[in-house]
Amino acid sequence: MLVLGNAAIWTVIVALLVSIGCYLRAAQGTGSIHDRMARFGRCAFVVAALCVMLEAVVLGVLLVTHRFDVKYVYEHSARAMAPLYWFPSFWAGQEGSFLLWAFWTAILGVVLARTSGPMERRVMPIYAMIQLFLGCMAAIKSPFLLLHPDGGPAPTEGLGLNPNLENPWMVIHPPTLFLGFASLNVPFVFAMAALLWKDWGSWLKRAMPWALFGFSVLGLAMMMGGYWAYEMLGWGGFWGWDPVENGPFIPWLALIAFLHMAQIQRVRGTVMGLTLFFALTPFVTALYETYLTRSGALDAFSVHSFSTLGGISNSVLLWVLAGAMCVSLALLFRHRRAIKNTENPLDAPASREFAFILAVILLTLCAIISTVGMSAPILTGLGQKIWPSMKQGSVPEDFYNRVNFPIALLLAVGLGIGPHLAWRGGGKADAHKLSICYAISVVGALGFVMLIKTFGTALPNILERTDHGNVFHGKDANILYMLLLFTACIFALISNLTLLARVFRLKKAAGAEDGAKTLARVGPRILTVGGFMSHVGVCVLLLGIVSLATFVRKDSPTLVLGVPKAVFGGAYRMTYRGQSGDYETDRNNVMKVDVDSADGRESYHAVIPYAARAMEDGQKMMFIHPAILHERSGDLYIAQTSTALSFPTPRFVKDLGMGKNWTYGPYTLTFKEFERDPAAAIFISQTGQMPDVFPVYAVLNVTYQGKTTEVRPANIRYKDQTREEDSPEVKLPGGWTVTFDGMSAGATDMSQPMDKKAATESAKIALREDSGPPVPAIEVDVSTRPMINLVWLGTLLTVAGGLLSMRRRIREIRVMPDTDDNPKPKAKDAPPQEPRRKAVAGA
């Protein structure tokens, strides 16, 4: 099996080299030799692709058959796992995720070879080079290495997965993500082919469906990742501006920029250089993000920086990244004359081109901001070398939210106005309609303001100075910003919906776009609304975000067993009903909480997973996940923070220094000394290890009504570190109890807690009037997630819109394969024209 896997890795490399060579030879002309070379090239690529799939199959088989003698299988899987989680095991480590990326690249490559038509022999060698890079990564860091290369017994059980990865979303999110990354290759290779062979005419039309595919898949992958974080991680959010999240986000923005530029180019025949630039960018930025997250460069600053790749792989990645960037820029520079604008698309500010370009500018700025923020540690680290007074640092989430806000605002406004504008500014923008939209959005904004007032948050007094005297910070200002964004979104939404209605009604898209006749020929009318659907989706998404930012309510109650507690000012009552098992020993333990609304209409039984799970080395890790209650108007998000004990009578706690007295109520306590449990002491001296149960006693003299007795309350620690310390109550004469809560903490030197001679020692002693044992309780953070469904709905609409547009562009290629996307005069050394084919009638 391993031999097969390793052989496949090397076959991939050889086959790809052959394929590149054949294709390059084939690209030199159009004779029969060249055609044959192209066929060989394709065969060799298919062989390589099959070998990559073979590698994936081999890894799968190794995982399923529990081959723990293989290092990768040992580190990422375990017999105790449910079979569903073999999938996350596949891509849990560096080698596996690179293999997944190579897998999708191979599949897409075969599709590309078969559908790129006359451009095949130009794009495929470049594509094969990308596949080769991924193949080399597999050769350097193979998933098929043995755990003990020099012999040794194979372990019977693997280390298993990080519990956070044992989630159905982790089964589908990574493959979708890497499919998206793989699809970024295609616009890149098309643009490269155009630059290398100076063929400006046929690349754009073919690259567009691929870009739309990538846009949709990456969007979907990001949504899945966001939902996983929301469901699993307990902080209630779905986007943290972390490098791993920015990774697909920035190429995604570049894709959108490309798609808009491409539209301008097809209609006006200009901005060729920028279109090429934006076709090259997604792949390069994806490589950059891969380097940042896998190389360990952000190690000290991000939770997500994975284990580092290691020296050689890091270098390969860096060189490929640098190479792709330099070659792209060099080629763009070299051909700058040929790809210059021949017309100025910005000649009419009230034209659709202008709106598109403004959108592209805003998207680019957003991408730059996110890249800069993500790279802040590296940038400041480099800056520190030049200016020693600068310190290396990172930016918090706040940075992204603040800086991206004006961009989001302008984009929303643009989304409203843009679709109403005509190409070349011909015909006035429908000012009348736009005014109506604006009026409606103002009404909507007033409604929003009333909602804010109803739900208890005060309106800002903008003349009032808050928060360090700066009126633009603080919660009140936040509401103002959200109000602006809300108005802009409603405006854009209504504006787009009126257009949608019009497109459906019109039989001919009169004057709205060039190529109207081809529109009519190409497929049913639904295909023309892809762009609009995506725009509407973005507005809906932004509305969801505005709602979350403005109407969230939080509470942190302590829920005592069986006692209903009012939260959110009485809107809901929560009652803790106990555990299903024992969280310290039961790995599937859950906490049960009943949630009832005040008006009695809603009633839920929430289940909060809360259990300690043993890891391979005996250590236990807490497995805590939120409970999410779904309602139409939003979610109720319950995250448990800890367990507690609730005492029926108050406790009085004191840090009692050694030798000191404490008088409270009818008692006087003197703390004499600490005492170790003798059995535990013997165990330690014999074995040198901690026993499973380790009690420490505080020896106290208790004086009550003139009589003095000695009591020894215990503080019991457990070797199993997820079990809480126990402080059993000791009854005192007179009906009170005393507990020894632990040794006092503070800024003192705690390194020698058992040294009886340390003068700063003190014990935490608690007195309580006894009226019954304590009752278990849990502490939770509850928050509302109003209108969060809009976030998921908006994203899905955006993705669907992309797919609809993709279908349309594919049909366009089939219907009119030879139309030149660039109606301007070609550069001098254009390739010979492909023979004309008959256009297929109809769709």
Partner: protein, 141 residues
């Protein structure tokens, strides 16, 4: 006054310049710098970041104040007491006490003479023998 042809590029340029200026100024004000312990003691008005390993035996949780206390040390051996307000981490004595690296983001409070952390990034020793990898956890107060 402004030629019609130039309006477009002008608007575009304004947007770009304004955004970049805003970005740089926001970055300056929100940047969390990584400082040494000595520098952190002096920077008492901005959020900063310090990195170190926990000193064994100093990890303790104060139930009444809902705060975690421990001491950190850096490569030079200097120590810094840290306070983190929040619920008691369940793996306080195991994973946190044995952490190979803790990154604390917060601000130094000279009155309490302790670093008040808002955010902890804990890198725990990997369960894989001899591996360089590690599991990481983030605690936000």
């Amino acid at each position: 006054m402004i030629p019609r042809k130039a309006i477009g590029p002008l608007i575009g340029l304004t947007v770009i310049v304004a955004t970049m200026a805003f970005t740089i100024s926001t970055m300056k004000s929100t940047l969390i710098s990584k400082l040494t312990f000595a520098e952190a003691r002096k920077a008492t008005d901005t959020t900063v970041q310090i990195i170190g390993t926990p000193v064994s035996g100093t990890m303790a949780y104060d139930g009444t104040a809902h705060a975690l206390h421990f001491a950190m040390q850096d490569e030079t051996g200097a120590t810094m007491p840290v306070t983190f307000k929040g619920p008691k981490p369940e793996d306080m004595d195991s994973a946190m006490a044995k952490a190979t690296k803790i990154t604390a983001q917060g601000v130094f409070d000279p009155k309490q003479s302790t670093f008040v952390a808002e955010n902890l990034l804990v890198k725990c020793p990997s369960k894989y023998q001899g591996q360089t990898g590690a599991t990481e956890r983030s605690y936000k107060s």
